[in-house]
């Protein structure tokens, strides 16, 4: 049974779908962004997002370390077909040992025997946006009705 999470059931299902596109965006100390596409990003039973970092010295991993240290958000883009979401959250745990780590270490090995898992990142979601064009445009029209081209309003 899943515990309370701000991620609704549909988003959790999408996060568990290996066909859905998933992208993690982080930023370094200077704010320079960095993204990785990773279809294995998933969700745990507590409704937290799981990102498996395979490269200890990667830019993403270093950025995540600085995010957990200095409470900086990261973003995850999630999409499949017409659906698209952006989730922002805080890295809450950098799991490097113990049963949770070893569970994902074995899972990574099953996916590819070459994979040598560095860190299980557990990201606490804090903010979700429907990221489709329709949703974003409707929101803008509500808040900024003056932003549009007149030809669209012509008789």
């Amino acid at each position: 049974m899943k515990l309370m999470s701000i991620l609704n059931e549909r988003i959790q299902t999408l996060l568990q779908d290996s066909v859905a596109a998933k992208v993690l965006a982080t930023a370094d100390k200077q704010g320079i962004p960095h993204i990785v596409s990773d279809p294995t990003i998933t969700v745990n039973d507590e409704g937290q997002i799981i990102y498996l970092e395979l490269i200890e010295t990667s830019r993403s991993n270093v950025n995540l370390v600085n995010s957990i240290w200095f409470k900086r958000k990261v973003a995850i883009h999630l999409s499949k077909g017409e659906e698209s979401y952006q989730i922002k959250g805080y890295p809450a745990y950098s799991v490097i040992c113990g049963p949770v780590f070893e569970h994902y270490y074995k899972l990574s090995l099953e996916r590819n025997p070459e994979f040598d898992l560095s860190t299980v990142w557990i990201i606490e979601p804090d903010e979700i946006m429907d990221d489709t064009y329709a949703a974003r445009k409707n929101k803008e029209r509500d808040v900024h009705p003056l932003i549009t081209h007149l030809d669209r309003l012509a008789k």
């Binding site: 240290w69 799991v95 040992c97 780590f101 070893e102």
Partner: protein, 402 residues
Amino acid sequence: MDKYNDVSPFVIIKSDVTRRSFIYTDRALGALDKSKHQYQQRVLIGSNRDKNAAVPVSLLLRDGTSIIGMPSKTAKNPYVVDQIDGKLVLTDQGEIVEEVHYWYKPDYYDKFTSSGTPMWQVASSRPQRLDIDPNSHCHFWNKGNGCKFCNINANSTQSEKECNMSKQLTAQDVYETVKEALKQPGAFTNLKMSSGSILSGAEIFDDEVDMYIEMLQAAGDNFKDKKFPSTIVASAFSEKQLAKLYENTGLMTYTSDIEIPNEALFAWICKGKHEEVGYAEWKRRIIRAVDIFGAGNVSSGIVGGCEMAQPHGFTNEDDALKAVLEEAEDFASQGVSVVHCVWVPMHGSAFHNQQNPSLEYYVRLAKGLSDLRKKYLLNVDMDNYRKCGNHPDTDLDRGNLD
């Protein structure tokens, strides 16, 4: 913390908890599961276990940073580990500071070697490092000249008496324990050996070198390749001894601790080392090890803050820090990482009544040492946060991209 907002708050917490020590509430101790968590451990310095209760051997923070230490019942202003709303937390004056976790017990811990030795007495487990200390007796103490901050012989004598833990390991026990440990996927990234100094042999430390060769070969028999991620924390060996070690074992990195990076204080605090080898020669040998192991693959530990021990130590923190970082830079410029632990004036050591420096001192020291590695392009993979876990400065390095 506000003044050092570019330093990991987890590292600051770690330094302060180590500096001030901590205690457990009964609730927190009740959360220890002896089938899952470590509550006894073979360590050279510190304490192997609490003879009266099952006490966690160390703590882990949310970001993977370790806090190495046993609780102190005599600490004047300790942190308190409590269980609140189902979570283990560090508290200070009743306020929650941060969540903590107990170290998990590896699968091999409760097993026995063919000779009947409990495997936890052969190899201890830092979060991702196998620690094997084949000899827990330091010869410098034989003449009463052991390092004043150290309790190695007091600890090993007590452990031998209370739980029949041998001061010396056998190569067969080491082989069997490493073999068992490697069956646990993802559990370890490094194997470290350490020992009290052994002064005997044709040349000083020859017997210590031979002991390491025997033990490293026994451990190494479990690996496919000759070389495997490994380190020793040992006496300062001569070039000839280092070459013999490197050529005959799987050893990839080497540490010899300069302990107190100041010649006059080294002579006072590490009297045996100074009389038998001397500060300048100890240092020269560490630096020469870079020729064999390579830049960044040699490190030297210091007992951070012990340079302020009285009556001969520095009395001003700025002066102490300047002296330490200048000497550390001399090492770093020649390929040696200087790493620090937080000096804990512990029972069984000559300095048990001393006072360690301020938290700010430790934050500046950790940052200073980490910055030196950045300046001289030294990575600290041999001793990073997930291996030893006892160095606030190397914890900081994971926040930097190579």
